[in-house]
Point group: C2
Chain length 336, copies 2
């Protein structure tokens, strides 16, 4: 489908579900961005879920989002159960303003929801020449090291830096595989890789269905488990949002709003060494890229480069939408 | 050896090497702390190296450390090639002051050296009821994903949070194994685990010597490589220190000072939800600990708990020192 047509369709669907014109546009753009980046798990496959949660009043279609200024560096946002895209958009914009003013910004968002890809927000800060961390927690998917039951989300660590060219954006889940990818595999009837998830009996499985019933494995055992825990503390405990496995699964749990928390930290990289930062950053990347390559590698990419290439190459293409999702979209556009 | 006696000996050795009484005490206490924590790789095994670098003028025994105030949150420290312990001690103390004043502290340290364990500094901030990140880079040990040559250090990610009890301190190298542990194994004539390092031809090795000549493997391939790169940018590029593989190996490279960089970020956890932070943090830990245990586990520990147990159980014991290191210490105390 042509992107312009798709955008109109999504906006129409969100507006039918009582989102404002402005919020509908923000959400449509992020969903399409995920599709262009080929992260299907964070794209149209979630549209029905968002709409269902709006219909059930679990996502507030007309939120009164409050921004509390703690000081020039620190802000605290009450998202009023808005759709995650909208409050996070406000959150990162505030974090950018704060860092531009003082050199460092810290913005917490509470009562939010799934916000798509962390890199959406990191990219905005990087394009304003800032270093950025984005943290968010998520529904239980990962067993803490030593436990056999899911508790942490796949809790990504997202870090961005301006490079003068394509943004350096590391957006890495603390799980061996993203939960969204398992969901997508399940929806499409595909298998998942070996060694990334356990079934409910604690055995390794390649069935997406069994993995969703079971638990995912963290990267590097205790280390990955600790990093996921760190993200839960930063985005859940610190922000006054749900934590410790209490973030609700947006697909399965309609007992209340998700209450996801986000934390954005922004740093002006010129604060210590001025314009030399960009010179050194370019030098840093150049050195790494020049290293002798391992077998099977023809170039060394920094985080964000591969996704950027995919984005650019898909930008002029139409978006292919599986028939089951097309059907979902038709239904969402008709049924009130 | 009794800790009191050992402390006097180390102080005497550092003073012989022209460190001030105050700086000698700081260094002695950190080295002994590493020994008590049973992280032998960061303890007495490094004493000779520090002294050699001092003798060669690569560590400045009488540094003029400058603290530049950028604003109430941000400070920039020129360590003047001091021994890492001393400048990092000043760095974390400044970061604590800044966060207490404004809610967030950001302190960069340049021209520093190996500072021991990141947890030394994280612990100080946590004991002052702050959340903390400590980043430091290190000499090449890790091949970036796609390269066959070492470039990043084992670049730890260190994160601390107050819990009301034992500090939550995640101090995780981005390598499968710490370089210090390989060095220690080499010194002691021990093997290293399978699958954590490659020899210089790119083959997996369990020989510590071959691993030191070769390269270490990052956790989770591209993810761990990206995290190590992030730490190099934060502690190296941002602070105006060496980066991109230019941090000198303190054991092997006497061509100049190490020029390690550190970055400390401190956050007052009460800034958003006040005293409720501690209640929620305790709740968070309680929930995780109550999860059903995986096979072979009788309890779930949070990061920092295990090391704290070791520390406590060793605190009243004498420190056992291998004969080769005792000999080194004797030589350092005699030879000028």
């Amino acid at each position: 489908m042509k992107k312009k047509k798709l955008r109109s369709k999504i906006i129409k669907i969100f507006k039918r579900h009582k989102l404002s014109e402005k919020h509908s546009k923000i959400c449509a753009d992020y969903l399409i961005k995920a599709e262009i980046m080929n992260v299907k798990s964070h794209g149209l496959t979630r549209l029905k879920m968002y709409c269902e949660r709006i219909k059930k009043g679990l996502i507030n279609s007309r939120p009164k989002i409050k921004i509390k200024k703690i000081n020039s560096s620190i802000s605290y946002i009450d998202a009023d159960n808005s759709i995650g895209f909208v409050s996070s958009n406000i959150g990162i914009q505030q974090a950018i303003i704060n860092a531009k003013k003082t050199g460092i910004g810290l913005v917490a968002v509470k009562k939010s929801g799934h916000f798509g890809l962390s890199s959406f927000y990191a990219e905005q800060a990087v394009k304003k020449n800032l270093i950025v961390f984005c943290f968010t927690n998520a529904p239980p998917a990962l067993a803490p090291y030593g436990a056999k039951k899911s508790l942490f989300g796949t809790n990504p660590i997202c870090f961005g830096v301006p490079t003068g060219k394509v943004p350096f954006i590391l957006d890495t889940s603390t799980a061996m595989i993203n939960r969204g990818k398992i969901r997508h595999a399940h929806k499409m009837g595909n298998k998942i890789p070996y060694g990334v998830a356990l079934n409910k009996y604690g055995k390794i499985t390649t069935s997406a269905k069994e993995a969703l019933e079971g638990t995912q494995l963290p990267i590097a055992e205790f280390k990955g488990s600790g990093l996921a825990w760190m993200v839960d503390i930063l985005s859940g405990v610190l922000t006054g949002s749900s934590h410790g496995g209490k973030v609700k699964d947006p697909f399965d749990d309609f007992s209340g709003p998700q209450n996801v928390g986000h934390l954005f930290i922004t740093i002006d990289p010129k604060i210590f060494i001025g314009k030399r930062f960009m010179t050194e950053m370019k030098k840093n990347i150049k050195i790494v890229k020049k290293l002798p390559k391992a077998k099977g590698f023809y170039s060394i990419l920094y985080p964000g480069e591969r996704k950027n290439k995919i984005y650019k190459s898909n930008l002029k293409k139409d978006i292919s939408i599986p028939s089951n999702i097309l059907k979902e979209m038709e239904d969402l556009d008709v049924v009130e």
